[in-house]
Symmetry: C2
Subunit: 379 residues, 2 copies
């Protein structure tokens, strides 16, 4: 796919496969009972989805289905609070089971997105059972024994992982994935020396409840009422703020340091200089990033554009004449990361610098899609 | 003022002195008939406000009143379409007059904010009449005979301008003003070599109608309807996009090149390296900017914070422990530019780099307040 057509103004969530009910904190899983089940296969791996009722958990299912991921069985795991909920997936009715230490016997692949605490506690237990865990949390990302993988970027990092032998593979942070999808092809050509990133991060990064709160606050503010501030402690509607992740002693917040550290690990380069400022903006589910690059070798903007045209999982939206560039809305619910504003950095000498603007669906490529793609590498 | 207290969740526009009616395209000027008129003085300059019914025009009046700017008379000028509208300002009823070439006879100071076309046509005519024009448009900013002024930064640039002798002084672009208010004190101490800016720009920068459209679109999207796209040609509600200013042949849009060029002019330094990415975000009237700085001389974050504490027109909101930093909502309708996230840039050696995050009210310090402060220098 070389270009992303502008589908025209879209609704709140884009063309969502899973409909979120703004009035409920937990999305109710809803899948058509009439979808033909292409994936259920006897000899295929057994899967578990941990945190299945959350935003990413639901997206795991959506992606597995979209990509016809083969499975012999699928276990829907969540907290006690959600256990017992019924829903239909690919024509089969499932009951959400409570996640326990015993949930993983016989499970080949477990997709985790239930927070770092759960991953830390149950990830190793699952791995001991022989499960290959694909963990969307930050719990193990910087662990030197755990591969941190973006399949289009560094699949070789997980070459020692095999089905049947328990292990943990970490899914990078959403902003890291979106950034490196666009920048790595350029890095491979001209070697990035330094990267300055400013992000525009969506509500979904803080979960379904955060998306609901943004909607609720927006309604309240439009009606002249005080906004409800449970998740974010401040008004989010028509506002933006420095990412809510804790601020560390160096003045960076955890979200920013994830980008710095995970980039170094994924690119296997401890020298690479990265700085980031992560900001929460009032959009629903796709992140945007303004990225300034300094290269060791020259890379002009036309060559950069050619490289990106052929980059896997990336589309270019870069039309100067009609001022058409990536927006979060256009990439929402889509797989590709969109890149635009590709231009020579006027503040750097010669062709050693570029500026680009990147958007990617935080729940999809930023989380669930990347994780399922990791699982696909195991097949 | 060393700190900006968090007033708690605010309404759509912040504590607006001028209430915009979302249902009308042009805001109806509304001032209390009971305000005591402190400013009307016989020996004071006569003023004209050009584009008085626009967002900035209204803010000119608000600021003149707030600051008790002395005037002997004040002329309210706008297009033919708005001529005849009546409103009360500081206890006096005014009728909006149609702006013509003859509007400036006897006018000492004219505050222009009616677009570059009007400024280009009528600015020089007003100056010929002996008027000192303070122009908020981009028409004359890069003209070598026209001072480009931020009063706290480079008041000396207008030292040759005197009341009674016609001239044009240019008000810089909103994003330039907000950026340089925060960065100049640091530049004066340690000399900025290079600056990388990513902006988060409010609807107000595109006028009152743009603010109305954002509100209207947001209502429509929440109701599941198609958003009305007149000003921006795309959905703005819950979305963001590369600034709508035309894109030039170097791939930068005009808004970005304004920041680059105006910084060089204001700092009187053609070598200063600046790159910018300007993004429109769905907030109402205050811009945010993520700014990465490289200095010639070392400047650690504590010294930087001290310098900014004492910087005129700047407040610090930089509380790491409670994750409290500048937001557009908090600076809306306020004079000060707020700075936070002040930290050593981990991607640069030693203490030669800083990252900061800045917010400022686009209509106020980004436009009207700066212009009135320029006018104050003439008194």
């Amino acid at each position: 796919m070389n270009s992303l057509s502008l589908a025209g103004p879209q609704n709140l969530h884009g063309a969502a496969a899973v409909k979120f009910s703004p009035s409920r904190t937990q999305p109710t899983p809803k899948f058509s009972p009439f979808t033909v089940n292409m994936s259920l296969q006897k000899d295929a791996p057994s899967i578990a989805v941990v945190g299945v009722t959350g935003a990413v958990g639901q997206e795991f299912l959506s992606v597995l289905s979209d990509r016809n991921f083969p499975y012999s069985s699928i276990k829907m795991l969540a907290s006690k609070r959600s256990a017992g909920k019924k829903f239909t997936f690919e024509g089969v009715e499932y009951v959400v089971e409570e996640l326990t230490e015993d949930s993983f016997s016989g499970v080949d692949i477990a997709l985790f997105s239930a927070g770092g605490g759960i991953s830390k506690k149950l990830g190793p237990i699952a791995a001991k059972c022989g499960t290959v865990v694909v963990d969307n949390s930050s719990a193990f990302r910087m662990d030197e024994n755990v591969p941190l993988v973006i399949p289009e970027v560094n699949p070789e990092a997980m070459r020692d992982i095999k089905l049947g032998k328990g292990a943990i593979i970490a899914n990078p942070n959403c902003s890291t994935i979106i950034c490196l999808m666009a920048v790595t092809p350029l890095h491979k050509r001209a070697k990035v020396l330094r990267m300055v990133v400013s992000t525009y991060q969506a509500a979904s990064g803080a979960g379904a409840a955060a998306m609901d709160e943004l909607v609720q606050q927006t309604r309240e503010v439009l009606e002249g009422k005080q906004p409800t501030c449970n998740i974010f402690k401040r008004q989010y509607a028509f506002n933006l703020f420095s990412h809510n992740a804790p601020v560390l002693s160096n003045g960076y917040n955890e979200e920013e340091m994830k980008l710095v550290k995970e980039t170094r690990k994924i690119w296997n380069d401890t020298d690479i200089k990265v700085t980031a400022t992560c900001i929460r903006v009032p959009v629903m589910r796709a992140h945007a990033e303004s990225i300034n690059l300094q290269f060791e070798n020259p890379l002009d903007e036309d060559t950069a554009r050619e490289i990106l045209k052929n980059a896997p999982g990336v589309v270019i939206i870069d039309d100067r004449a009609s001022n058409n560039f990536p927006t979060p809305l256009e990439v929402s619910n889509k797989d590709a990361v969109a890149v635009g504003r590709i231009r020579r950095d006027v503040s750097q000498e010669g062709n050693y610098g570029l500026d680009i603007f990147v958007c990617g669906d935080q729940i999809r490529k930023g989380a669930a899609l990347n994780a399922v793609q990791i699982a696909e590498l195991l097949l």
